[in-house]
């Protein structure tokens, strides 16, 4: 937006396209800089946030000789794919990535199905035991996952799912937070349409699938992103539940990798790229939705 008036005394500039919004400043203010002073805050900060990521990309394409010399170089003398080839030949990283895609995929899907069903049931249906069971679910929101780790580990060992992908997936099947989120959203929808559909002979499930869920896309997207970030990036639970290298998630693979190959930076940065780039691309593509999610989880959580 062009509120960037150069020098002189800027008269109140009506912001184009902002409709009813008026410029608040009524007194002319002398400007020392030819641009807004906020750039002096934002430009260095933005650089600070992006520079490490840039360095990750650059270092993953550097020969190790360039990194491990004194003084180190920031830019490579030549582009080298040694990091990536070392990563793909020296470790089952693709397998780890596939495992993570499975874990995150099942988690997101299951979250969407179970939380919509339960959220709708709690918001709209009347049945014996509704209040009691909803109260139990609400009470579990405050439980930190660290409290559940030990008993869950023992339980999973006994039923024999420890060290399988199922162990990584099960805790992500649904969440009290997700049920609560969907319920609140359904409560905010008007009832009339659903009642009309019921009168026309639509089943309760049909109402949810055909009438309510199409209206619930923002809430579903929020839930999906929230679950995707959590299950894709989780480290402590896979670390406990999975020992077999073939069953590692990408985060666990990376974390263990780094213990064994401390200074093979190009390889470690290549691993970081593989683990992080899918989410970064997804973020840049769906940034609006991501920001809405962060806000939503922030204000309603």
């Amino acid at each position: 937006m062009a509120v960037l008036s150069t020098g002189g005394a800027p008269s109140p500039v009506p912001v184009p396209g902002a409709g009813a919004r008026r410029t608040v400043r009524s007194r002319p203010r002398r400007r020392i800089l030819p641009f807004s002073g906020w750039h002096l805050v934002l430009a260095p900060t933005a650089l600070l946030f992006v520079l490490p990521l840039v360095q990750m990309v650059v270092a993953s394409l550097m020969p190790d000789g360039d990194i491990n010399r004194f003084p180190p170089r920031f830019l490579p003398s030549r582009i080298s794919f040694d990091g990536y080839s070392g990563l793909f030949t020296g470790s089952p990283v693709l397998r780890w990535l596939l495992n993570t895609v499975i874990v995150a995929g099942v988690s997101v899907l299951s979250h969407l199905v179970l939380c919509s069903l339960a959220g709708y049931g709690f918001a709209r249906l009347k049945f014996p035991g509704r209040t009691a069971s909803f109260f139990v679910i609400l009470a579990t929101i405050m439980i930190p996952t660290q409290l559940l780790m030990i008993p869950t580990y023992v339980m999973f060992t006994r039923i024999g799912v420890i060290n399988t992908l199922a162990a990584a997936i099960l805790p992500w099947l649904t969440s009290a937070f997700g049920i609560f989120l969907m319920r609140q959203f359904f409560l905010s929808l008007p009832k009339d349409l659903e009642e009309a559909a019921r009168l026309d002979g639509c089943t309760q499930l049909g109402v949810l699938l055909r009438i309510v869920l199409p209206l619930a896309k923002p809430a579903l997207a929020t839930l999906a992103i929230f679950t995707l970030l959590g299950s894709w990036n989780d480290l402590i639970w896979p670390l406990i539940a999975i020992q077999d290298e073939k069953t590692y998630t990408i985060q666990l693979g990376l974390a263990n990798f780094q213990g064994t190959r401390r200074v093979q930076w190009s390889l470690l940065m290549a691993g970081n790229m593989v683990a992080t780039m899918p989410l970064i691309i997804f973020f840049v593509a769906a940034q609006k939705q991501f920001v809405a999610t962060m806000t939503f989880s922030g204000l309603k959580g």
Binding site: L4, A46, A118, P151
Partner: protein, 328 residues
């Protein structure tokens, strides 16, 4: 096809019900009661069909383990041999354990570094990003992107950037003729560096929350203050900041809970070192439970963590009620 048949069936049954008979009224009553019973059964089944699966998962994977953890916390058990009942002694051990006390101190230091700065910087950057200036969308993207990076990836990247020999930061310091630092290898600096990494990764969250809160402030309020002759600093101090108070209660609770559960980032950077200087409560819990196989004592530590989380949340909610912030 089907609807027609249904309609016909309904019509037949209706006609049959209308038939006058000796015990017609009695029949009618019985039928109605049966119908009502079937309906109650149907609504119960439908209701539980909807919420049942999720409730079962929550019962099995949250409620049951949480209760079990309490019984574990009163035992001495390594997962294999027979569990021994030890009463409350695991809890009294909590109070006397010097390693746990050290872990609590490290966690508090991290919390004190992380929470206030994430809130202050969050407000500052949100105000900056709320200006109608050029490139603001680009700045926003830059500041939000690290939020999708995992703690593991952040830790590994941080190891590189803060590496004493090869890292970018020491390299820049060298150009500025500042002495080289040990960063993660220096017990006095390690926790600060971890807090910086944590801020880098998670600042996007508070910025987004405050940005939304700023955009929710009614424009009239600001305009009224300006008409009354307030300058922009006074508007910020007396109009904007009070409006951000409820959100601040929320961000304080959220960031504090995040901070006292710190683990992943430490695990991928220092693993608690150097000299245990960055061992956190959750790190200590992990070590006790899954390295030393003290399931009982580990559960007691976990219950302690749970209690503290509850206290902090309740305390802040009550405080906000008393001071009338009305966040909840």
């Amino acid at each position: 096809m089907t609807p027609v048949t249904t309609v016909r069936a309904v019509a037949t049954s209706a006609r049959r019900a209308d038939l006058p008979g000796a015990d017609g009224a009695d029949d009618e009553e019985r039928r109605r009661r049966a119908y009502r019973r079937r309906r109650t059964l149907m609504t119960t089944l439908t209701g539980w069909g909807f919420v049942g699966p999720a409730v079962l998962v929550i019962l099995g994977l949250s409620v049951f383990p949480a209760i079990w953890a309490f019984f574990l916390s009163r035992q001495k058990w390594n997962g294999f041999s027979r569990a021994k009942d030890v009463g409350w002694s695991n809890y009294s051990r909590l109070a006397e354990d010097p390693d746990l006390a050290a872990a609590v101190v490290h966690t508090l230091v991290f919390t004190a570094l992380f929470v206030p700065s994430s809130i202050l910087l969050g407000i500052l950057l949100a105000v900056a990003l709320n200006q109608r200036i050029r490139f603001v969308a680009f700045y926003r993207t830059c500041i939000f992107v690290p939020f999708v990076a995992s703690a593991a990836a952040t830790g590994i990247l941080g190891n590189f950037v803060f590496s004493p020999q090869f890292g970018l930061v020491n390299n820049l310091l060298r150009l500025l003729h500042v002495p080289q630092q040990g960063f993660l290898e220096d017990p006095h600096q390690a926790m600060v560096v971890i807090a910086v990494m944590s801020l880098w990764q998670q600042l996007g969250f508070t910025v987004v929350v405050y940005l939304a809160a700023l955009q929710d402030i009614p424009r009239d309020l600001v305009e009224a203050a300006v008409t009354d002759g307030a300058n922009s600093r006074q508007v910020f101090r007396h109009v904007t900041l009070p409006q951000l108070a409820p959100v601040t209660v929320f961000t304080s609770i959220w960031q504090t809970i995040t901070a006292i559960q710190l683990f992943d980032l430490v695990f991928t950077t220092t693993r608690g070192g150097p000299l245990d200087a960055t061992q956190t409560v959750v790190g200590y819990l992990y070590k006790q439970a899954f390295r030393s196989l003290n399931f009982g004592y580990g559960s007691a530590v976990a219950y302690g963590l749970f209690a503290v989380t509850m206290l902090i949340t309740l305390g802040m909610v009550v405080y906000s009620r008393i001071t009338k912030f009305e966040a909840f």
